[in-house]
Symmetry: C2
Subunit: 324 residues, 2 copies
DNA sequence: ATAACCCGTTGAAACGTTTCCATATTCATG
DNA sequence: CATGAATATGGAAACGTTTCAACGGGTTAT
């Protein structure tokens, strides 16, 4: 494997000159450039990126740390993140934490050792400031503390729209269904928007949540349907699409039909084709914009730029399906 | 950021000793070890993995090159691949080629420069031998040439099972539906198995394919349904789940009901919950086994091991859904 | 004619590891 | 006690790149 030195020798120039030709830094005369390029071609030389990273003490690698790439929301996000990174010449390292705090810490440690240029973190715990010495980090969909810039969808407005659309579709009593991990604070805004809209319109509402994931889905829904005051709910806003689909499935077992008896709206917009039913009415997160925005902000940080806001909220859209 | 030298100085030992303690290579007395560990702790030293990679002329990074992580089949695969790699202390670089040959080459080039330890390639073109100087590579689901070891599901048996199950479910005339890229040779076996089983059972069959992707889905199905000889098909084996779902959707528009009028079986098994309908009857690819097998083989290659077979076929399973 | 300057170029130093050879120490053996 | 073997440690070299101080030669200004 030829090195820059071999190129320099063959071309009859110094290594510095070769380096400057490769990176076209300062000026090199056209003749010299030609000689160098010829030598590169002849030797089939390719720059050793690892050596470069080492010398520069930084790499063009960005890590994406998320619970599971298997989840369709995250895989879509990852797709756009990789695309945006690639446009800027960065590589993506993928890390599945499984949502486990210790695995997240383990990965932070590893990324630290590997001197990645930056991290996009979709974590379930707060990130301690002292974990990351000086690696820029952006979070998506989770507000992790004021030091870390966060890109998220406009959860509050999403909640308001959801309530509004349910009511518009004829719901007289609406319910918010949520399963959250405790530190996942940003999602609370979906609830808040929902409540505010229901109250603004004077419609009765219920909040039904499971925060600590001690319940199984089974128990969660069993309890919901057995509670007397939930009997006359005619509009349901589930805080994720998956939860909405689970609700619809369970409801059917109780003889409650969607959308005839109850209107349902989810959140995320993970269905990207119309092949499987029910097609959920949902608050669509602008995944592509979130991904690209996150990367642009991250690269700005990497390049020493200052970022003004600490939360960027991208507008959501209501997407009508078969469940309202 | 402290280096190994700082640790050595503080501990009052040589750099070699520190290195040996970190990697516990040859013997170091317990006392010396203790001194070194204390110094490491005090300085908050973490080994610089980039420098190590540089010196060793190899990294613990493996690249996964695939058309799109967004596709549920690939995202499941990626999940298990990352998991298996992580167990062995390897990191995963994710590359979406979009199925574009030039992007694939571009990535190969990049990975070459970055001296990744190995590549899992799910590509749409044949990989030229000369592209990869000496990076071990494994392909999944695509047989790319005899030099490259391939892990795949047992496509032939899958095809036979599909035909068998359709006939068992009462189909009198069966059809194979396929959309393939031309070099994607391994999938041909699904067709071959299908044909062999239909012939073995003496059942009439049709092969309906689109190889070059010049048709839109629209045209593909329009032509299928308008062909006279396709009218009495009562069993359809689509070579992917997505294609099966599209077929069912289109068929409905023509007044053909599934499974009443036609039984449908897909291939892949991408649905991992029972929330969306129709739940496809399908030939389930053993994604997890394929992923782990691929990584185990790749790591074996990386560590200089010899691999006996050049194709590893993992058994498939028939998973019954609502469409047969 | 000399000084000052500019431009293109050179090559050594440095980045943080691992490895290997040399040296120092310990220990067992005769 | 002398010798040799085994064990423990130190430190220089090397990996391939970038960068920077220094240099040479040509041009311009004085």
């Amino acid at each position: 494997m030829p090195s820059i030195k071999d190129v320099a020798n063959l071309a009859g120039v110094g290594v510095g000159t070769v380096s400057r030709v490769i990176n076209n830094h300062s000026s090199v005369t056209p003749e010299t450039q030609e000689k160098v390029r010829a030598a590169i071609k002849e030797l089939n030389y390719v720059p050793n990126e690892v050596a470069r990273n080492f010398k520069m003490q930084k790499s063009k690698m960005v890590a994406l740390l998320l619970p599971s790439i298997w989840h369709p929301f995250f895989s879509e996000l990852a797709y756009y993140i990789e695309d945006e990174l690639d446009r800027e010449g960065y590589k993506l390292i993928l890390c599945n934490s499984g949502g486990k705090p210790d695995k997240e810490l383990y990965y932070f440690d590893m990324l630290n050792q590997n001197k990645v240029a930056g991290i996009v973190g979709i974590t379930y715990n707060n990130i301690e400031d002292d974990i990351l010495t000086d690696i820029p980090i952006i979070s998506i969909d989770r507000h992790l503390g004021n030091t870390i810039t966060c890109v998220t969808s406009d959860n509050y407005t999403g909640g308001r729209i959801a309530a509004g659309k349910l009511i518009e579709a004829g719901a007289k009593k609406v319910a918010y269904l949520g399963i959250n991990s405790a530190v996942y604070s940003e999602v609370e805004l979906r609830k808040k928007g929902f409540i505010d809209e229901a109250e603004a319109q004077g419609v009765e509402y219920i909040i039904y949540e499971e925060l600590d994931e001690v319940y199984t889905d089974e128990r969660f829904f069993e309890d919901f349907f057995s509670l007397y005051e939930n009997r006359d709910v005619t509009g349901v806003f589930a805080n994720t699409d998956i939860l909405a689909a689970k609700y619809i499935d369970k409801a059917k077992q109780y003889g409650i039909r969607t959308p005839e008896d109850v209107k349902v709206i989810g959140y995320d917009g993970i269905q990207d084709n119309k092949l499987f039913h029910p097609i959920l009415s949902t608050i669509r997160q602008p995944v592509e914009e979130m991904a690209r925005m996150a990367i642009r902000l991250l690269l700005k940080k990497i390049n020493g730029g200052k970022i003004k806001q600490d939360i960027y909220r991208i507008p959501v859209m209501y997407r009508v399906g078969e469940t309202t």
